[in-house]
């Protein structure tokens, strides 16, 4: 009886760890799996999603109940849109110049991930206002001037004047603000410490299944959220017009463009979708513990693992891989396996050794590496780079 309970507990916990992995990996399955872009800043997009949840929570707290209890519902779309926006910026500003050059993409996005980490540490009113003013001056000005017929000719001149000018103006305004209002504007919003998102009351506690085993509502929520995201992606890719375009472009970019598909827009949209899903994942992980500037880093390796083990480009593979990794991780980490093989002394000792969170991870990585030796293409390998939801 105890063993059955242990197994069930393990399965459910594995499923819930898997769900967290999966929700984190979904966005990457699209960006890396479908587009073939290695985005090292994916974890930071999750972190941004988590911070967005934190902000939405604080704003809704000031509204009092019932708003303060429902903030999570609103945080999801806000986080999705915000990170999707960041995703478009990253794709348009950096990645599109690097398509087909994985090494450069990796380095550039790694740089972006460091920038984003530092950004949440040091962002304050001065910085935020300066960025807004700079963007308004520079991009607004460019947009205005680009309408002139002779823009192509004076382009370099415009840039050399506008860039330092906008930077100087926004810098000066920031400086003046900082001098006048002192700490009220220079105090970082979040700082380097972790911030806490408190799950709303209805997500605290859990349902008792049997004995002492209970399923936390927060985990249940994440499982349902993951399932909903999966269904949403599936429907979007299979049934919508843009989904068809995305599938076409990922399979044959050249021919797709010859048929009239605007491939650049498709790229932006695909990237935005993947980034937005990272935002949703950030929302989800904020329910599991405090979030800090480094939160993203804790997840990014795991998510790449899920995508690679599942088979690049196969969404179904990511699902299986996430649940498998989650389950193995839990069974090893919680000592359940050690308990099961107790009669065989050396084996039990072996598994007891790995029965901590970090050692379990070591073991999972080891298993993954050996697995990939036998099946380099992942669980569902595929020929070429195609999408198959």
């Amino acid at each position: 009886m105890l063993i059955v309970q242990g197994l069930l507990e393990g399965l459910f916990n594995g499923l819930s760890i898997g769900a967290v992995l999966l929700v984190a990996a979904l966005g990457l399955a699209i960006v890396f799996g479908l587009m073939g872009v290695i985005n090292m800043a994916h974890g930071e997009f999750m972190m941004l999603g988590a911070y967005t949840t934190f902000i939405v929570q604080n704003v809704f707290k000031t509204f009092g109940s019932p708003w303060s209890e429902t903030y999570i519902i609103f945080a999801l779309p806000v986080a999705f849109l915000l990170t999707a926006g960041f995703g478009i910026l990253l794709e348009r500003g950096v990645i599109r110049y690097l398509y087909g050059r994985p090494l450069e993409t990796l380095l550039a996005t790694w740089g972006v991930s460091l920038i984003l980490q530092q950004f949440v540490r040091s962002v304050n009113w001065v910085l935020a206002i300066a960025i807004v003013i700079f963007s308004a001056l520079f991009f607004g000005g460019l947009w205005f001037i680009a309408k002139r017929a002779d823009y192509d000719r004076i382009k370099t001149l415009v840039w050399t004047i506008m860039l330092p000018l906008s930077a100087a103006i926004s810098g000066a305004i920031g400086f003046v603000l900082a001098q006048t209002f002192k700490l009220t504007v220079t105090k970082p919003w979040f700082g380097a410490q972790n911030v806490d998102v408190t799950a709303p009351a209805w997500l605290r506690g859990g349902v008792r299944v049997f004995g002492t085993f209970q399923i936390p509502y927060a985990r249940l929520f994440i499982i349902i959220l993951t399932a909903a995201c999966m269904a949403g992606i599936y429907l979007f890719l299979q049934k919508s017009k843009w989904g068809l375009r995305i599938r076409s472009v990922t399979q044959n970019r050249t021919m797709s463009s010859c048929l009239g598909i605007p491939t650049q827009q498709v790229d932006s949209l695909t990237f935005a979708l993947g980034s937005g899903l990272a935002g949703i994942a950030g929302c989800a992980i904020s329910l599991l513990g405090s979030v800090g500037p480094n939160t993203g880093q804790n997840y990014v390796v795991d998510t790449f693992m899920v995508v690679v083990v599942g088979g690049v480009g196969k969404l179904a593979g990511s699902v299986v891989a996430a649940i498998a990794i989650g389950t193995v991780n839990y069974f090893v980490g919680s000592g359940t396996i050690a308990l099961l093989v107790q009669p065989i002394k050396p084996l039990a000792d072996f598994f007891t050794f790995f029965a901590t969170a970090s050692m379990a991870k070591v073991m999972v990585f080891f298993l993954i590496i050996s697995f990939l030796q036998f099946r380099p293409g992942g669980i569902f390998p595929q020929k070429g780079r195609t999408v198959d939801a």
Binding site: R247, S248, Q251, N252, S257, G260, I261
Partner: protein, 232 residues
Amino acid sequence: MLQISDLNVYYGESHILRDVDMHIPEGQMICLIGRNGVGKTTLLKTIMGLIKPRRGSVDFLDRPINHLSPDKRARMGIGYVPQGREVIPRLTVKENLIIGLEALDNPPKNQEIPEEIFELFPVLKTMLWRMGGDLSGGQQQQLAIARALMGKPKLLVLDEPTEGIQPSVILDIEAAIKKVVKATGISVLLVEQHLHFVRQADWYYAMQKGGIVASGATSELSQDVIQQFLAV
């Protein structure tokens, strides 16, 4: 309709197309012939915008299109059936056809395949739900042509549509193209090795080592030219 002037194209440092001039008048079918590897496909790819010429210009509907991306050219009305068909493998036949609607400015709301397509290519009707990559070569060729026609092109560009296809299907494809030209009056640029099909065109250009070396009405296609430029 399509005017190519002084076109010079390179792959890296190798000079592929040399000073190519070509004119495709409205409503005419033009055939480009030449032995393997002379640069026929390269010319069509340059027309589509897949390769940027180093010198020279391509004008379509009296507008220079050198700087336009392939999708813009498709939207202007150039329908492209590449050598090797390039059917999207993991999309169904129906989805492949619907992708063809992308070239239209105002695609119809209901995504149904018009009957005309099935009249031209009856085989497609029975396999709408099959994956494009699972079709036979001949079926894929018909699908690729049908897909280009879905976008109602003003100029249809065909790169060796009969390559590796059995004679009876070649006749089907030929008949379909002739029917479309007759019904819609579109222009066609055809790269072809198959003499019977070449004779359907109004005018031919013969290419050798990346340059146009002969041209004339296909009705006056001499044995000499056939011997020299067609692999018969």
